[in-house]
């Protein structure tokens, strides 16, 4: 077809094949759009349904106890009184312990692997750290019961409390049974470590060599280079990794249930047993005979969900803040 013919067809509009093909492709495009949009909407819809279901099921407990559900420390299924404060407290405290321990360790491992380790050590060490994420939660719990708890009871806890004299502070006072918020926090630290370290490592490796060279060319030592050029560049990504670890710590169930001691009690001492929201649900859902008990567990589930959402929101905001005040890539 010559150029002249084509122009005539378009001008007259009476030659069928070309306009038809255009209409055909538009329909296909629209189908794609709708199908993909439907897929994409499934996820928020599922989330919404989950929240609605939790909200409806938990509503009787919320209505019965009001705000006290979140602030009361009494959880008594026999008397029909439910207050989730100890579980909320335990969830937050164990997660904080986990982050305090795992963050320096995870970022340190990542820095070692990205900047210090000889090339042939990198892969094996990275693989071993990643492998920590592949161990099932219940195995961590088992290890915790038979290895970590005796070690804590006989060595670490007496050392912290007596040798270092931290027993005078509220955080390390009281008897050392073993099962405790400290134990749960430490096992969580091991479990979130691979997440923090794997993401930090990827982010650190993504820092361009030119940034490292720019620092070295100014006469920076390796540590000055890491501190001045590498970490600032990777900061928002590292924070993202820490937040991912936090999200996992908040929701982790099995290992924590096996190590925390499962007691409804708010204690400032980390040596004391406690409870987390996730382990509370795991322990009691099977024996929740009354409607109110079940409703209370659902309400705990919703609370855990909301707290996780808030944490993630704060994290997003943090990453956004960090990204805004700097690490825009050149």
């Amino acid at each position: 077809m010559s150029e002249g013919d084509g122009a005539a067809v378009i001008a007259n509009g009476d030659d069928a094949p070309r306009p038809l093909r255009i209409v055909g492709s538009a329909i296909a495009d629209r189908v794609y759009t709708w199908v993909l949009t439907a897929f994409a909407l499934c996820i928020p819809a599922l989330l919404l349904l989950l929240v609605i279901a939790l909200g409806l099921a938990g509503w009787p407990a919320f209505r019965r106890f009001g705000f006290a559900f979140l602030t009361s420390s009494t959880w008594n299924p026999v008397a029909g009184i439910y207050g989730a404060a100890p579980a909320i407290y335990g969830t937050v405290v164990t997660s904080i312990i986990a982050l305090i321990v795992a963050t320096p360790l995870g970022v340190g491992v990542a820095l070692f692997l990205s900047d210090l380790a000889p090339r042939r050590v990198r892969q094996p060490v990275a693989f071993l750290v990643d492998l920590l994420a592949a161990i099932p939660s219940v195995v961590y719990g088992l290890w915790g019961i038979f290895v970590l708890l005796p070690f804590l009871r006989e060595t670490l806890m007496p050392f912290l409390r007596d040798t270092l004299g931290l027993g005078g502070t509220v955080f390390f006072s009281g008897p050392a049974y073993g099962p405790s918020m400290l134990a749960a926090g430490l096992i969580l630290a091991v479990m979130v470590l691979p997440y923090i370290s794997a993401i930090s490592r990827e982010v650190l490796l993504a820092v361009p060599r030119s940034q490292r060279e720019a620092a070295l060319a100014l006469g920076a030592t390796r540590w000055e280079m890491i501190r001045g050029a590498v970490i600032p560049y990777a900061k928002s990504g590292i924070i993202g990794g820490i937040i991912l670890g936090l999200g996992r710590a908040l929701g982790e169930t099995m290992a924590v249930t096996m190590l925390i001691g499962n007691r409804h009690e708010i204690s400032a001492s980390l040596l004391a047993p406690g409870y987390t929201m996730a382990s509370l649900i795991a322990n009691e859902f099977a024996e929740a005979s009354s409607d109110l008990h079940l409703s209370a567990l659902m309400a705990v589930g919703l609370t855990l969900f909301v707290i996780t959402m808030i944490v993630n929101g704060i994290a997003r905001w943090l990453v956004w803040q960090v990204g805004r005040t700097g690490s825009g890539r050149p």
């Binding site: 030119s210 060279e213 060319a217 100014l218 006469g219 920076a220 890539r329």
Partner: protein, 280 residues
Amino acid sequence: MATNSSLTSGALASGGQHHVTDIQRLASEGLTAYFGSAAAIRGITLGVPDRSVTAIIGPSGCGKSTFLRCLNRMHETIQGARVDGRVVLTARDGKALDIYAKSANPIAVRKHIGMVFQRPTPFPTMSIRDNVAAGLKVTANGASTPRRTDEIVERALRRAALWEEVKDRLRTSAVALSGGQQQRLCIARALATEPEVILLDEPTASLDPISTQRIEELLHELEGEMTIVVVTHNMQQAARVSSRTAFFLNGELIETAPTRQLFTSPSDSRTEAYITGRFG
């Protein structure tokens, strides 16, 4: 800014384009650089005259950047890379030191021999001011007070011909600057620590013509007060900015001569072939 030498004051007054002094600020002797077992440059002996611009030209892969990176011990930061030979740095007080001597510390060496790279490398999380001051933090002669730092930053930015453009936004992020401004910022960062020598590795390769011209003007202005080595694949640039040019080919130094002489009457046929555009 001829501070502590009277040797070059005459040359400085005349703009420095054609002055040649006997002092070689930096001189390599039999320098061979390896990546693994392959030598990228072999037996390079080249002197860099004091307070002048020396250009290194040659086709891609001729080793000119590798040579430059040997001059401040950056080459060895690449895994598997190593260097044989000597590079003698003559300090302002006349003392000559081999930067590859056993006792020499590469970190200390780099504090005295600054470097600017092909792509601008501002630190993206730092402000313009902090970028310029970045080198001060790691050098012992750095500023002790914020005010002193501000003075040094202003002076470095003025020398890099960037001050007028950024003086009102020193606290804003450096990545908001254009590519050419970023490169001048990197030059200011290198100048701020008062190095003995500045090495530039194809500093205009990623810039537009206007920005390139500004950098060339800047090099011209710095000639006479700084010792500068610039690697470039652009022969016209070498002709415009340098007083001395070295031609590299296949990892070897073919010829070095005053720039005008090298471009008008090269003594080696390979140099002639390259500058007349027969290859490269």
